[in-house]
């Protein structure tokens, strides 16, 4: 068996495809391109494929990653091209390479994700933006929904924020850059962070009006350095 990692982008209306939808889309692309994908053993065999670190509904991305295991070797470029055939406009494979097949997939090694967000900010709100004060808090609380009980719970993500800056780019428009924890079971959501920031400062911008893009996912390579997940293994 061979394992390939493919980098893809997700733009425009396709940001509204959920993680599950995307999985189904890729499975169909594999079938349609007649790629000899490997299946898991067991009662209910499924395709051996992994989308590295799900992206929240509504976010765009420059660099997402898909790993697939195949029964026969492929030329990486040809593989990416043939899988592109049935993808809708807005989702494209931009790179593909073979990686060593190990028992752990790439999600195990990821550490951080970089995000960029654009949002409107009124003049009055701009005065209120207090990044220093926000980051000096002892705890940075976000509200998330508990996976089991579905009830909103508080969570301190201060340790998961590696950097968070805001720049005025033009009249009433702002850009935020964030580097946040993105590892198995430890993921900080950039939208929640912005929401928390707006709440802390008393800014009226609504989270629905923020346009968020994931720039890349970083992982540790063999030497223990943080690099793009594409180059990590």
């Amino acid at each position: 068996m061979n394992r390939y990692v493919l980098r893809f982008c997700k733009y425009g209306n396709m940001r509204f495809l959920s993680h599950l939808d995307l999985g189904r889309l890729f499975k169909r692309a594999v079938r349609r391109a007649n790629v000899k994908i490997a299946f898991s053993n067991g009662y209910n065999p499924h395709e051996l494929m992994n989308i590295v670190q799900p992206l929240s509904l509504g976010y765009e991305s420059d660099s997402e990653y898909l790993e697939i295991d195949t029964l026969i070797p492929y030329d990486p470029d040809t593989l990416a091209q043939s899988l592109c055939q049935v993808l809708p406009e807005g989702i494209r494979f931009t790179a593909c390479r073979e990686e060593e097949r190990t028992s752990k997939n790439l999600s195990f090694y990821t550490q951080r994700a970089l995000y960029e967000a654009f949002f409107p900010l009124t003049e009055a709100d701009a005065e209120k933006a207090d990044m220093q004060g926000f980051m000096d808090q002892e705890r940075v609380i976000i509200i998330k929904r508990d996976k089991k009980t579905k009830k909103p719970v508080e969570k301190d993500i201060k340790d998961w924020i590696y950097s968070f800056t805001i720049k005025d780019i033009s009249e009433g428009q702002c850009r935020a850059d964030m580097s946040l924890r993105c590892a198995s079971n430890e993921t900080a959501n950039p939208g929640k962070l912005l929401e928390s920031f707006f709440g802390f400062c008393g800014i009226s911008t609504k989270i629905e009006d923020c346009r968020i893009t994931r720039k890349d996912i970083l992982a540790l390579n063999g030497e223990g350095q943080l690099v793009s997940a594409y180059e990590a293994r």
Partner: protein
Amino acid sequence: MRIDRYKVQEILDSLLNKVEKPAAYIGGEPNQICKEDGSFSVRLAFCFPDTYEIGMSWNGMPILYHLVNSTCHTFMERVFAPRVDMQEQMRAAGLPLYTLESKTPVAQADIVGFTLQYEMCYTNVLSMMDLAGIPLLSKDRGEEWPLVIAGGPCAFNAEPLADFFDAVLVGDGEELLPEFCRVFSECKKAGLTKKQTLDKLQRLQGVYIPSSYSPVYDEDGSFIKYEKLDPNAPDRVLRAFLKDMNSVDYPTNNIVPLIEVVHDRAVCELFRGCTRGCRFCQAGMLYRPVRERSMEENLRIAREQIENSGHSELSLLSLSTSDYTQFEPLVEKLLPYCKSRSVAISLPSLRLDNFSFKVLDEIQGIRKTGLTFAPEAGTQRLRDVINKNITEKDILGALDKAIDLGWNSVKLYFMIGHPTETDEDLDGIADLARKIMDLAREKNGGNRGRFSVSVSVANFVPKPFTPFQWVPQDSPREFERKHMYLMNRIRPIKGVTLHYHESFVSTLEAILARGDRRLCVAIQRAFELGCRFDSWTEHFNEKAWKQALSETGIDENYHALKGLAPGAALPWNIIDSGIDDTYLMSEYERSQKAATTPDCRLGCNGCGINAHTDCPCGGIL
């Protein structure tokens, strides 16, 4: 301000973050067709009056989409009913209903077409027109508005919506809809007025122009006849017929939805129509005659669809799948093909004989699900009345085999409220369930094990163009009594569960199905009172509907409960379904004597359809 597609996308960008299932509103799926402006002359906004997930599961959509878009004159785009939350957001943001392909506001299309697949979608038709900003009443729409048309099985009696539509297309749509668009495009090119255009369209077989006729009622409110307002209009509008399913270029490059829809699968319609002649079944009458597609074509279509879509399920569709003459060889060819690609085959409406067991056993392997029977009535007498040709022996015999092969659950579908039904027939339903449980216990050494029976009862709704079109319907109260009666008989039987439907919904369905033109105001009133998504239990608003009916003077008793005198004028008879009225009447009379009528394949029963088109199925067995 005239909103263009860029503005539509801009507003969408600002509101899709706020709604559930945003991907239902974006289009852009693999295999979507998008024509360049200027490369076509007619824009058809094809509306399915329910959600994306339901509309994209309807197998007629890809057919019409492909056939219409294969023409050079017309660009057909899809429109679905936005969910309630999206409707609110759209209204708040000033975003009108738009097409998924090019994001063009629906009101800017040349033709807006609705497919009417079930009665309970009627308020959605109005809410979609309203969301599009199009005046509801046909008479209020001047030259600047699109032509609003409808088709689908409910178009056989579109009277309850007649005031809203400029034209109604009746019968098979494969040839009619593209031809309709072609004639329209010529009229458009010639600069004809709406009136002149409709006059030309009226000449096509299957096109009904409601405004060419005006209904006449007597003093006590009974419908008597139509007065023709346009001397060129035909006395009765004969439905359109597709003569040969092999002559149509059926699509194999279907749109693959990006989100999960109700039926997410490749579909192959083996044949159209049904020869069995169940007397309550409207589809069995409206889709006559049986037209088969050749095995080669079916094989090709199934394979190409799977290859082009990447679907992992294939459904072989028809009203009675095992009646396909080439069923065995077809399935024998498809099985290994599908197995090698790990594609599951589903076979709805299968009769359980030896061959189907072999097939089911093979395709379901160890996980045996969904063994279903539709006896429709609890006693042989009542099954004879409705002409449902299945016996208790058939069912128990099939189950005997099924249990041996490892099935441990069965679903039984019944209808209650058939003409002549008595409580004895209801007892028959419980008895059958008990006999099945007994059989299972006996075969399992006196132990029930995990075996279960699910009994589902629907409420009978008399439908136009069936032998039961005249009969009265049970009142909601009577339905409820019967549900309780059945519940009391079934509850004591361990392992059997009973499911039944809301009664008033069925009453309403009967009112809408057999309604005349006076219902237009009632439906509009219901819409104004907030009714929509009436087929969704969580949205159905019984109170508002009752208010709408009473405010507009529609007597529930008159329209649903009271039977119509055989021989009375029927508002839907403005349409000629191709089936002789005398045939329907004689079938009705035979039903009253519990006399059965054999399958057409054993000999033609003289329904009259062959006077209009070839009927290849008579007496072939």
